[in-house]
């Protein structure tokens, strides 16, 4: 039987505010345990929450960016359950009326563009961490993370394959970074994903029973976890079993999912409106000011790069995946005579591989946009060849100065003087009688050998186009001469 996979995703995005969602404590990652947990975060008796306006602003920006409806009046509710890293015994979240409702995002699939619905996005606080190791059978509690603002973004069950799920997640990840509402750091838990997965016979309208895969923290694991889960469910049904609604945990070491809890032992969270926080009232002005902070979004930027600059889809996609990369690209472009395509190539291949090698962000690149622009200009005005330019780039990366400086110091200027080139070429031809014979015998590919020899003799500085022209002329003359 052909099966169809149905996937919906819940993504918890940590908002990159300075302070926590309901207290003034810092949200900085990596501090010593419990050093960033104030009286409110550890839920001392008598403390009260106060909403962080910056978190609200970031949630609104997200809502506007996915063309969602912003609820001007949204309500905070308490989700009640006991756990040692949940200090109040309840999590403040949004239940009935979330701040963001009903948006969408477009993803690229093998069959073209696809619209993925966003059901809602709501504000809530993160819990602390329970540390089960290093405490001799006891559990350590670190409340630094408690109260960190989260935006939980819930998608419609619109994805039909792990690849679509990944495409959606990458889009979302790019978007939150563009909006500067999250650092999106998956290792540090700033971008966490739960996947609701079910299968149904192709053509069936009603959804199959789903399982929820919890807290998977890399794109690769998400893909593997969903793949495993889909196969598990199909095998189960084909063997005559039924899928039960449950929460499952993905184990990356064993590449399998395991049941965590079933629907029967699901909590009754006893949601009710938090009496400590009045409903949040957003005026139109606040929403408009958030709208003004939204930069050109990746999708629009990508289309612009393709339409205005004639870049292909892959280049445009790669350049716009990170805002910093796109900014770098546009900065180089504005400072060079070179073509957009050439700038794109330099960033997407040479620069990208250097950054990758040293695990650096583009913001930390030792080769600034201005430096790269100068280098591309030198290719454009034929001061150096593309090949030499790669050597110059390596020197710039190593901190040896700007392109002009390096070209000058190392004498890398291209040889464009015809008489000088002719002299070198004559020398090469004189000592290459065997190859000339081959050439005369009709083996055209030996031409490359002569070019190589000339380049070698000039340390690559000969203008390749001129070398080609002069060589061709001389060889043809020799050939004709013999024929006579």
């Amino acid at each position: 039987m052909p099966w169809e996979t149905v996937i919906g995703l819940e993504v918890h995005v940590q908002l990159n505010t300075q302070s926590k969602i309901f207290s003034g404590a810092s949200t900085r990652y990596g501090a010593g345990p419990n050093t960033q947990a104030c009286a409110v975060d550890i839920a001392l008796p008598g403390v009260l929450p106060v909403m962080n306006r910056e978190a609200t602003r970031k949630a609104v920006k997200f809502g506007l960016a996915v063309e969602a409806y912003i609820n001007q009046k949204s309500i905070f509710s308490r989700k009640n359950y006991f756990y040692p890293d949940l200090p109040k015994g309840y999590q403040i979240s949004q239940f009935e009326i979330p701040i963001v409702a009903g948006g969408h995002m477009m993803i690229d699939t093998a069959d073209g563009e696809k619209r993925i619905g966003i059901t809602r996005a709501h504000l809530e606080e993160d819990a602390g961490k329970s540390l089960h190791e290093d405490f001799h059978g006891m559990t350590g509690i670190d409340l630094n993370r408690a109260g960190t603002p989260l935006l939980e973004i819930v998608s419609e069950p619109d994805m039909r394959s792990p690849a679509e799920a990944i495409a959606y997640l990458r889009k979302l990840h790019t978007l939150v970074r563009y909006l500067d509402i999250s650092d999106g750091n998956m290792q540090e838990g700033s971008f966490r994903c739960d996947a609701n997965v079910s299968v149904r016979p192709r053509g069936q309208v009603e959804l199959g029973t789903r399982s929820e895969l919890k807290n998977i923290n890399s794109f690769r694991f998400i893909e593997k976890a969903i793949k495993f889960e889909v196969e598990r469910q199909i095998d189960l049904i084909e063997d005559g079993g039924t899928v039960v609604q449950e929460t499952r945990l993905y184990d990356p070491d064993k590449n399998e999912t395991r049941p965590m809890r079933t629907k029967e032992d699901a909590h009754d969270y006893r949601y009710f409106p938090d009496p400590d926080l009045p409903p949040m009232d957003l005026d139109g002005q606040f929403i408009e000011s958030a709208r003004c902070e939204i930069p050109e979004l990746p999708e629009i930027k990508k289309r612009r790069f393709m339409a205005q600059l004639q870049l292909n889809r892959e280049d445009a996609e790669q350049l716009t995946a990170e805002k910093a990369t796109a900014d770098y690209f546009e900065s180089v472009l504005s400072q060079t005579q070179g073509e957009a395509k050439s700038v794109a190539n330099w960033i997407n291949s040479e620069l990208a591989s250097y950054l990758n090698e040293e695990n650096k962000d583009i913001d930390a690149s030792p080769v600034s946009a201005a430096m790269l622009a100068q280098l591309i200009d030198r290719i454009h005005d034929e001061t150096i060849s593309g090949k030499i330019a790669k050597d110059v780039f390596r020197s710039m990366w190593a901190g040896e100065g700007g392109a002009d400086e390096i070209i000058e110091n190392k004498g890398l200027r291209q040889i464009t003087d015809s008489s000088a080139l002719e002299k070198v070429i004559d020398e090469v031809l004189t000592r290459s009688q065997a190859q000339i014979e081959q050439y005369r015998g009709g083996q055209g590919k030996v031409f490359g050998y002569f070019v190589g020899q000339v380049m070698k003799a000039t340390q690559g500085k000969a203008n390749p186009q001129q070398v080609n022209e002069i060589l061709k002329e001389k060889l043809d003359r020799i050939s004709r001469g013999t024929a006579k």
Partner: protein, 483 residues
């Protein structure tokens, strides 16, 4: 000296007729001699005297403010930095907060002296002070009687003149009811007028800090100190704070007093009704008019309250889990066992009863029938008042249906205990301010006259109370054995 009002003491301090240290010593001595009332949970004489010395320096330097140097007792529900704060519970018997409640901070800024922390019903859940882990408080007028609750320790303290004034909190009548039963003045301001930050939450949408004093004038002086917006409390209201002493002496001619017929029905002891009517006639003589009004949903107040308050409490008290502070059971098998034992052993019966009621009312499948329904009733009850205030300026009636009852009489009968708050709960559900002032005596026990006004009408309520107290001396009476 101990029998003087805040107003008189402030004048004495300013006129150098006494020092804050002398005053503080005087009250500390009385507190020690009157320990049998069990009005205090924590007393730290050294701490109090340090504060008094600091206050004397301020008075000396002329840096003083109106209540600098005045000793005051605080209900043990307010967090006090470096001083035990138990909320009357075993589960917090060892809890010392690292911070001051906003109300406490404001008193400190004023240079007031803290005499200690007063006894109270556990987590403010009770109307008799008998649910305290630290034992019941006794009524100074009759030590076999309850002082009322939950601010029973504060009420008994002021009645017995162990302090010039005390703070309290009122969730369903917890300031006004004990004030009535102890023969003093108790004010619950409008919800949002006094910051709840650092006040250990019972029912967040109902809780409000208040004052227990000898007179309406003293209540005005103390409200001047504690009222005002607090950015740390999202439910506090950013309204300007008037000088509450400004209108105290205003003429009452033409004041329209609404008398809800529901406050004078069969549940009211006839002796209390009589004392209330006599008090009203005093106000009539001052030019006020009595108008019969209707609060048709009054009978729904108690059931509505006993859904909303326990629901909020069940969630508010979840933080007492033995993980981070307070009591933790000594022996347990695992995490769930630790929670169960800690909370079973740490909370008293009444608290557990309300946690269970609240948990039930919020559960899936019951939420609509209980919590949501109660919220709708709350809206109706509030509307009753809004309509009533189109006909009258203030609403009056007895604060409680009976005078103080015997210790032990109602502790095993929760419903009859809950009915003691039948006239006070509505002001919490609607968020309105209310004050109870001494209205007379029945069989040697004080009664209270309750005055409820529109939102932020504290000045008006205190004006009425003050004019009444200029004509009467009930508020000046001191229980036998405490003169």
């Amino acid at each position: 000296m101990y029998a003087e009002t805040l107003k008189q003491l402030a004048s004495d301090l300013r006129g150098k007729r006494c020092s804050s240290v002398e005053l503080t010593t005087c009250y500390l001595d009385r507190m020690e001699r009157c320990g049998t009332l069990n009005a205090f949970i924590t007393i730290d004489a050294d701490f109090s005297l340090d504060q008094a010395r600091a206050a004397d320096r301020l008075l000396e330097n002329g840096d003083s403010r109106p209540l600098t140097g005045i000793p005051i007792a605080h209900k043990d529900i307010f967090c006090t930095q470096g001083m035990l704060t138990t909320c009357g519970s075993k589960i917090l018997h060892n809890f010392t907060p690292p911070y001051d409640a906003t109300l406490i901070g404001r008193c400190k800024e004023q240079g007031m002296v803290s005499l200690g922390k007063t006894n109270m019903d556990e987590f403010a859940m009770g109307s008799s002070n008998e649910t305290s882990y630290f034992g019941p408080v006794k009524n100074p007028w009759d030590k076999n009687k309850v002082p009322g609750g939950s601010s029973g320790g504060s009420a008994a303290t002021v009645a017995a003149r162990l302090a010039a004034a005390a703070t309290g909190t009122d969730t369903g009548g917890s300031v006004r009811q004990p004030a009535a039963l102890c023969g003093i003045t108790g004010l619950k301001p409008t919800y949002g007028r006094v910051s709840r930050y650092g006040m250990i939450a019972f029912a967040s949408s109902l809780d409000q800090g208040g004052v227990l004093t000898q007179s309406a004038e003293d209540a005005a002086l103390l409200l001047n100190v504690i009222a005002g917006f607090d950015p740390k409390d999202s439910t506090s209201v950013d309204e300007p704070v008037p000088d509450y002493t400004g209108d105290l002496s205003k003429d009452l001619t033409g004041l329209r007093i609404g008398l809800p017929k529901q406050y004078f029905d069969e549940g009211l002891a006839s002796s209390v009704e009589q004392s209330t009517r006599e008090a009203l006639s005093v106000l009539e003589k001052l030019g006020a008019r009595l108008i019969d009004i209707d609060l048709p949903n009054s009978e729904l107040c108690v059931p509505c309250y006993y859904v909303i308050a326990p629901s909020e409490a069940s969630s508010n008290l979840s933080r007492f889990d033995g993980v981070r502070y307070g009591y933790r059971s000594e022996l347990y098998d695992d995490l769930v066992d630790m929670y169960m034992r800690t909370r079973s052993e740490g909370f008293g019966d009444e608290v557990k009863r309300r946690i269970m009621i609240g948990t039930y009312a919020l559960s899936a499948g019951y939420y609509d029938a209980y919590y949501l329904k109660a919220q709708k009733l709350r809206r109706l009850i509030t509307q009753d008042f809004e309509l009533a205030f189109e006909q009258c300026d203030v609403i009056m009636g007895p604060t409680t249906p009976t005078p103080a009852f015997e210790l032990g009489a109602k502790i095993s009968d929760p419903i009859s205990m809950y009915l003691n708050d039948i006239y006070t709960i509505s002001a919490n559900l609607s968020g309105l301010p209310g004050v109870s002032i001494p209205a007379g005596f029945v069989d040697g026990l004080p009664t209270g006259l309750q005055i409820i006004g529109p939102y932020f009408s504290e000045s008006c309520l205190l004006n009425v109370g003050h004019r009444f107290q200029m004509e009467t001396d009930w508020h000046k009476r001191i229980p036998g054995g405490f003169e």
